[in-house]
């Protein structure tokens, strides 16, 4: 990836983070830190990897993108708007009365939302079903699911990991947004996932690790898909919860609380630099 492309992406990511904090401030919504954790991954996928057409969002051959960590929906909404699925202005209604832009990704008629997620451990089984369907229909579609590290606590996630490995779903890619924090605290303290790559390998997956906020690393991680023919791909992206606004980084309180006016101003100032 060229230096200029990277600089453009970084600039775009700062703009979108600003948009997210404004939306969340207005709506007094939660999950800003989760959105910041995953934003760069979603931005990169929509910019360079996903075969989707905002003008024809239901095209049968499109790649499927599932934000299994649906509570970071604000990150997906701003990227979809940026790509032209709908107007950025529509996001003014985010989380307000009657809005289809719900705080957790829901099949509410938002173009580009493929299934309802956010209850943890749902995205991967549905994605595995889409991947199986793709194989059966001899479609070139690929299925991408972004899951949180907390979702790896859920049995249904591991059921799907076992299923995808057994069925050689090499059209399925999952990205683990591995920020090391879950609802109550550190993943390491609550329910340790390490060594995570070994677990995926043992279940028949091809695995790589990357830096989830570094576009040159992301470009390398997604350069060749599937990583290995006949195996589903797991990309473990090391991320920082709240990335981009220093006082939110690695602070679990920003999973829950919304920024006040001073927080908003400080965040926007930092993001404009």
């Amino acid at each position: 990836m060229q230096k200029k492309q990277i600089l453009n992406l970084e600039k775009k990511a700062r703009e979108l983070r600003s948009q997210i904090v404004r939306m969340i401030y207005r709506a007094r919504a939660s999950h800003i830190a989760s959105a910041y954790s995953v934003l760069d991954i979603v931005l990169y996928l929509y910019g360079f990897i996903l075969r989707v057409d905002p003008k024809n969002p239901k095209s049968p051959e499109r790649d499927r993108f599932i934000l299994s960590k649906g509570w970071a929906a604000s990150a997906l909404y701003v990227v979809l708007a940026d790509k032209g699925f709908f107007k950025m202005k529509e996001l003014d209604s985010y989380c307000t009365d009657g809005s289809k832009f719900i705080g957790i990704a829901t099949m509410s008629g938002v173009p580009g939302i493929e299934t309802t997620t956010g209850s943890m451990g749902h995205g991967l089984p549905v994605g595995a079903g889409m991947a199986v369907a793709g194989k059966k229909l001899k479609s070139k579609r690929r299925v991408f699911a972004v899951i949180s590290d907390g979702e790896l606590d859920e049995g249904s996630t591991w059921e799907a990991i076992l299923f995808a490995g057994h069925n050689h779903l090499d059209n399925l890619v999952i990205v683990v947004d591995y920020n090391g924090l879950q609802s109550f605290g550190r993943t390491k303290d609550i329910l340790n996932l390490d060594p995570l790559p070994d677990k995926f390998k043992a279940f028949g997956w091809a695995v790589t690790e990357t830096k989830g906020h570094d576009f040159s690393f992301l470009a390398r991680a997604f350069a060749k898909l599937p990583l290995q023919k006949g195996k589903p791909t797991a990309i473990i992206a090391h991320t920082v919860k709240g990335k981009g606004v220093s006082f939110m980084e690695n602070k679990n309180e920003w999973h829950y609380k919304y920024p006040n006016e001073a927080d908003l101003a400080a965040a926007l100032k930092e993001l404009s630099n």
């Binding site: 049968p60 309802t116 079903g129 199986v132 059966k136 799907a160 299923f163 057994h166």
Partner: protein, 299 residues
């Protein structure tokens, strides 16, 4: 499956001795997810989102309750074309205990928006329910019990004409109305015979649909007698008896609905299906006696 190549079967490792022929005939449209109902429900949703009509098959207790949240969110809330087929409903697996009894499944499925709930009572009704579930796009639960251990698998003398939501009157009587859903149909027929022996001419009605109910046609059952006796191999909480009671109370009608199902308790014993039903008072003799007593009291 021969006529419609968009139909696909998902099983959570159930169907031994049943599905082998189907698997061999349609290997591309048979998916065994292994014993993982939550994943199977999600996979079913993913297939339906890709244009398939999915039949997701497992035991009644597991296809509904084990993965209830996946059914609710992935399938029902997205209004997907997934038909849940639950076998061994009620006390079918009578020697297995509470883990394998399915007595709350109808209540759970009935509470979900978009969900159609069908409990066929004999082979004709089962065939109808399967085909009827394909007449619309959307989720359905088809509950299969084992109503009878004998060779008699039909109640209806010939293929009946059925419509979703409508009761079917098998025998017309004027003194009492016995309504049955699903696997209780054989016992309901015994009740009707017992009543006949007592010179009480009773109507026998089968209701293979629990949701949605055709309101006017269901309320018509009260026309002759202002009371109906609803038999089901399911908890009295949340099944057909509840559904009919709701119809009646919502309209403030002066009718009586007697819910004859399993009571609000778990059974921690083994035994035959008939024995377990009897512990909940569900025998032809007891039910017929109860109805006869009610008629006598009314006079």
């Amino acid at each position: 499956m021969e006529k419609d190549e968009k139909i696909i079967v998902v099983t959570a490792d159930m169907g031994y001795g049943t599905f082998e022929a189907l698997r061999d005939k349609f290997p591309d449209r048979f998916i065994n997810t292994g014993v993982s109902e939550a994943n199977a429900a999600g996979v079913s949703a993913g297939l339906a989102l890709s244009g398939y009509t999915v039949f997701f098959y497992a035991q009644a207790a597991f296809v509904t309750l084990r993965c209830f949240e996946q059914v609710r969110l992935d399938i029902a809330s997205n209004d997907l074309d997934v038909k849940l087929v639950g076998t061994s409903a009620g006390f079918t697996l009578c020697q297995y205990g509470v883990s394998h009894f399915a007595l709350e499944d109808v209540a759970a499925m009935r509470s979900l928006p978009n969900m159609t709930v069908m409990c066929p009572g004999d082979i004709y009704e089962a065939e109808w329910a399967t085909k009827a579930s394909c007449s619309f796009k959307g989720p359905a639960y088809i509950r299969i019990g084992r109503s009878n251990s004998g060779p008699d698998v039909f109640i209806h003398p010939k293929k009946p004409s059925l419509k979703i939501g409508e009761p079917i009157i098998i025998r017309k009587g004027d003194k009492a109305t016995v309504v049955s859903t699903g696997s209780m149909l054989f016992l309901a027929r015994e009740v009707e015979k017992e009543l006949h022996a007592k010179k009480i001419n009773a109507s026998l009605v089968s209701m293979p649909t629990v949701k949605p109910l055709n309101g006017p046609k269901t309320l018509n059952l009260f026309k002759k007698n202002k009371a109906v006796y609803v038999m089901e191999e399911h908890s009295v909480i949340g099944g057909l008896g509840s559904a009919i009671s709701e119809l009646v109370t919502d309209r403030g009608l002066p009718y009586k609905v007697v819910r004859l199902g399993t009571g609000d308790k778990f059974l921690h014993v083994a035994g035959s299906r008939d024995y377990l039903l009897s512990l909940h008072g569900l025998t032809a003799k007891k039910i017929a006696a109860r109805i006869a007593r009610d008629i006598k009291d009314k006079k």
